[in-house]
Symmetry: C2
Subunit: 161 residues, 2 copies
């Protein structure tokens, strides 16, 4: 069993210190490249992802999710509106609030930008059994939860500790 434990340690090390950081780097680079292609900022692209993943949100909630002040978020929304990617929808229940939702054009442009990667990913996943897909889903869900929790923790605590 010693060999198996060594194999396991090697697998863990490769995953945690190589593949995952490498993937994270590539993700940031890709987002940046897509932003340049769409003519918007990296932050704007992150905002579009947030809208696509978690649905319409107010500027305040959006500001928290993309790690911005409400003032900067207001400007970001201005840019995205000008780019035709999102739309401001007044909240009938609370006339202070404004809901931000992606336009059809915005969704289409984002889908086009990531179509290549989605296709590559589907091609890769075609070679996996349903059992393996379940394993991937389990880990991805945990990774999303853990990473979001860490980000939340960092943003909520003071820089001093």
């Amino acid at each position: 069993m010693a060999a198996t434990n060594e194999d396991r340690a090697a697998l863990l090390g490769e995953l945690v210190t190589r593949s995952i950081p490498g993937w994270a780097i590539a993700v940031v680079r890709l987002n940046s490249a897509v932003a340049g292609r769409l003519g918007v900022t990296d932050t704007d692209v992150l905002c579009l992802h947030v809208l696509d993943r978690y649905g319409p949100a107010t500027p305040g909630a959006l500001a928290k999710r993309v790690n911005l002040t409400t003032g900067s978020a207001s400007r970001m929304i201005d840019r995205l509106v000008a780019a035709g990617c999102v739309r401001r929808v007044p909240d009938p229940a609370d006339r202070r609030r404004v809901l931000i939702e992606p336009t059809q054009e915005g969704r289409d442009r984002a889908a086009t930008a990531y179509a290549g990667l989605v296709a590559r990913t589907h091609a890769e996943l075609a070679g996996y059994t349903e059992e393996e897909l379940r394993t991937l889903a389990r880990f991805m869900a945990a990774a999303e939860r853990d990473t979001a929790a860490e980000a939340q923790h960092f943003q909520s605590t003071a820089p001093g500790d």
Copy 2:
């Protein structure tokens, strides 16, 4: 088998349109939060990741990897040097070149910043069999390769097409 195919489609959809984008969003947020904590820019943190993942590099190579011009990369290195995270080492073989490598302090601070997430990840992976770990490693390697290839493709092609 129809039910199985439906299950498989649901798994694929959840993975590609939910978990992976959600994880990517969390990764960007975490990097931004870590940058704020370390008192540097998001780009600077990405640079530190690149150095940790791919080893020391020249400013020019670094600029390509973080999607920056050589001029901006020079300023970025200035900031990281001032923050005590990296060091400029002259290349004895080519006196034009300078190699950028992380300092011990820089490595320690980065390790501290991500210690929480690494611990969470190891705790999660402790519940996986070696077979499952191999599946994860296979997919993450493919994801890193595919995502990097997409980013490369976007950066190398003109914005017009």
